[in-house]
Amino acid sequence: MTASITLDSVAIAEQVRSGAVTAAAVTDAALGEIERRDAALNCFTTVQADAARRAARDIDRRRQAGEALGPLAGVPFAIKNLFDIAGVTTVAGSKIHRDQPPALADATAVARLKAAGGVLIGALNMDEYAYGFVTENAHDGPTHNPHALDHVAGGSSGGSAAAVAGGLVPLTLGSDTNGSIRVPSAFCGIFGLKPTYGRLGRSGAMLFAESLDHIGPFARSVRDLALAFDLLQGPDPADPAATDRPPEPTLPSLGEGIGGLRIALAGGYFREGAMPEVLAGVDAVAKALGATAMVTLPQVLLARSAAFIITMVEGASLHLDDLKTRPQDFDPATRDRFLAGALIPSQLYVKAQRFRRWYRDQVAEVFNMVDIILAPCTPCPAPRIGEDKMVIGGVEMLTRPNLGIYTQPLSFIGLPVVAVPVQRPGALPVGVQVIAAPFQEAKALRVAAELEKLGVCAAPVMS
């Protein structure tokens, strides 16, 4: 059997475990696709071909020795370049961090995927320090959308999304502070999971805004998302935000359907300011699920604004020394925002955090009435690379700050969200957020699996 890199992770691992293909052949297939296509897509900033081939050969050797292989046996995966890889300098999309020594160990998340048999292929492009929604990185160049190369892949985990959509690897990791998993998932037409805040340990991942940062997987199938999420769960003592709840596997319940789940659309704010094709995507998903009820979250605009302020303050705090000594080395797309963030009075930050507490309690009330809320991922499909302004509903607005208007108010209070893709033949895909109450990832994944089963959502390789 010929190794295919266009299968999902579960299928590839099954083939490797059964001996139908070797991990070495699968790894070579991934490296071949990267060689063939990544000059155009610009997903990868680091490719570890030799280390990947060694890891793959080791898996094949273990199989021949009769050892049990993990659920990701021989599956090529890649990571946003803010995750530590032992022996590699973690740059987080920056020029500044290229001066840093190599990481001493793999990030917790990377180590867990490797321990399950995953073969790390390399690191992926992103907005500098995760501050952006477009992955037009001044140092590494823009990542191109596999659906249309002159359009952005989204950000900040743009390389992670485009690598999956383009079929270079079936599984990647990214991070999401205000939408950086969900926005690129939507633009690239794939599945992405932003879990509950604190659910997945972040140690070894360079933070951006610590009280808002999450990590999570990208994939072309819902079962891959669930599998990766399950493997990534577990204690992470080095991350003060990491939950001490026991892992709650989602894969076993993935096929249970949506029976018993109360599903509603997000109204008000989430129906305003979006292009018609985006709302049509949400409505198509709602119709397939039989969801007609609409719920309104309170003060969503303030939630978005408060997230904006917290992000600016925490992000600037993290980089203050470099802002003082070498501002010229920042990406122009992030520099002025970081500098401005360093100057925000403490009262604004504290009020934003206090508001967060209030808003969390209000939204919890809504989740007493429903289990799942549906909302757009973005106000528009992927803009063109370099497009500074867009027009929605006759109103001209800046593109970059507005791509996260629907994602920010949800990550603000750490809600788990699965971004599901709605393909539009001949046009760019749109994404829908399947939102659940805190720590209810399993419900959101069940809904995503149902949508995939119904054929409403799919993530084909764009080659």
Binding site: F308, L343, F355, R356
Partner: protein, 64 residues
């Protein structure tokens, strides 16, 4: 707070606050910083004006 500071007032705040923390904003970035600060202030105004119960505290995650 006053959310509708004049552009000159925003520039003054930016310069004063930068001085407080020992940050020099190079002249070539000054306008971009002021623009971003003004954008932030426009969003912050309604947040600051929103009345919260006095007992609503931040929700820190740090546990010693």
């Amino acid at each position: 707070m006053k959310p509708d500071l004049s552009p000159d007032a925003v520039a003054t705040v930016v310069e004063a606050n930068a001085a407080v923390i020992g940050l020099t904003v190079p002249p070539e970035y000054r306008q971009g910083v002021i623009d971003n600060y003004a954008r932030m202030l426009a969003l912050a105004g309604p947040v600051m004006a929103f009345e919260l119960p006095k007992q609503t505290e931040m929700a820190p995650v740090f546990t010693p």
